[in-house]
């Protein structure tokens, strides 16, 4: 095995751990996409281009899209929610400290 393949395998391990450790679900899905892309390159080095095409299209493309949609359904990636939350925090903080 060449050094490049070893590096890519190391990257897979790092990605797998990072997916578990990250707090944000959105970041987890993006890391999962990176994992799939590197995995498809590894499939090519293992001489199975059939699997590489499927991995790139399904793993990195459609599965991640469906995960994004699921996150949207549970309001995990609505940017407006985040902004509203900050507004509410600021407002409440202001109330507590008697400013404004």
């Amino acid at each position: 095995m060449s050094i490049i393949v070893q590096l890519m395998l190391l990257f897979l391990i790092v990605c797998a751990i990072a997916v578990c450790v990250t707090k944000s679900l959105l970041t987890s899905v993006v890391i999962y996409m990176a994992y799939s892309m590197i995995m498809s390159v590894i499939w090519i080095t293992m001489e199975s281009p059939d699997l590489a095409i499927t991995e790139a299209a399904v793993g990195a493309g459609i599965t991640s899209l469906l995960l994004f949609l699921a996150l949207k359904k549970i309001h995990a990636i609505d940017a407006r929610n985040e902004v509203r939350r900050q507004h509410a925090e600021v407002k409440r903080g202001g109330d507590e400290h008697g400013e404004e």
Partner: protein, 328 residues
């Protein structure tokens, strides 16, 4: 009359030029001016605050529950057990990996008479240069029919659960609440994004063409029905993300989906069901195998590849559309 309709619509679609894009953009921006983040109404701020407080209440209750229901000794035991189970599992898996034969080892147990037969006689018997396709669409074509049916069933279940129509708001309180609630995720359509639209104009034809190439050359080069179908499905998803559902419905509606998938599955099933009547023995195909390497070769494999490609494309797009909006 119907044909005329279809032709005019096709013509409209083909003659769609620069001006139309800008016009739809302006119209869309006038129609769906989503509420601005900066200008929050007092009601919205109250809503956000209530949500925050609810979250904090739930967190406090959870902490309470975990602290009260288990004694400290039991909690220590639970934690120890968790660590123990995880370490055992990791150890077992690592041990199994070390016991596997090396990659590319000629004495590998999977290198038995079955794979030898596929490699030596595959080209002769199936006519497919790509041995993988010869395997999954000739020797094991029945398995692939099962896989296509599983995809179809999954799409049906997603449609049952998530599809909305005119009636659903009348009968389901949840659907009505989702339509009325301004914070529901179906309320915000993505605004027309000029960067996304220009990129999609360049990329979508290339992606679709690549998908068609992979499907049609499934018996000659790497790929096949499933991978090509997934690529085409991704192309359709990119198109609908950039241009919206109104444009997509001009050539792909729920009816189109039903017809394409039904015809593709039936074609597949009919062209493979003869295995039942011959006692699951393989008989000679009436379609000649042709010269290996030519595009029109390898008998039924090309037809089956196209069927699988259609099913996968439609199912992928259907998943996306139903998840996103609840309708095709």
């Amino acid at each position: 009359m119907a044909k005329n309709n279809w032709l005019t619509r096709m013509n409209d679609w083909l003659s769609d030029e620069e001006g139309a894009l800008e016009r739809t953009m302006e119209a869309a921006q006038e129609q769906e001016a989503a509420p601005d983040i900066e200008q929050l109404t007092p009601a919205e701020i109250r809503w956000a605050q209530e949500e925050l407080e609810e979250e904090k209440r739930i967190e406090a209750r959870m902490k309470d529950w975990t602290e009260k229901t288990a004694s400290p000794a039991a909690r220590v035991v639970y934690n120890l057990m968790c660590v123990l189970v995880c370490v055992t599992m990791i150890g077992l898996l690592l041990y199994t990996v070390t016991a596997l034969p090396a990659f590319g080892d000629p004495n590998h147990p999977i290198n038995n008479e079955v794979s030898a037969r596929y490699i030596e006689k595959g080209l002769q018997e199936t006519g497919a240069v790509n041995i993988v396709t010869g395997m999954i669409l000739d020797y094991r074509a029945f398995d692939t029919l099962g896989e296509s049916s599983v995809l179809f069933t999954a799409a049906m279940v997603v449609l049952f659960l998530l599809r909305k129509d005119k009636e659903s708001a009348k009968y389901s309180q949840l659907a009505k609440a989702m339509e009325d609630n301004p914070h529901s995720d179906t309320y915000y359509e993505p605004k027309n994004d000029i960067i996304l639209q220009k990129t999609a104009t360049i990329l979508v034809p290339i992606v679709l063409l690549l998908g068609v190439y992979v499907v049609l050359n499934g018996h000659l080069s790497p790929g096949g029905g499933f991978s090509g179908g997934a690529i085409m499905g991704a192309g359709l998803i990119l198109y609908v993300t950039a241009f919206g559902f109104a444009k997509m419905r001009r050539f792909f509606t729920y009816k189109t989906y039903q017809r394409i998938v039904l015809v593709a599955l039936l074609t597949y099933a009919i062209s493979k069901c003869y295995s039942f009547y011959t006692g699951a023995n393989h008989i000679e195909s009436i379609i000649p195998l042709g010269t290996p390497g030519a595009i029109l070769s390898s008998g039924l494999i090309l037809v089956l590849n196209i069927c699988v490609g259609f099913i996968v494309t439609c199912t992928m797009y259907c998943f996306y559309a139903v998840f996103r909006k609840g309708e095709l």
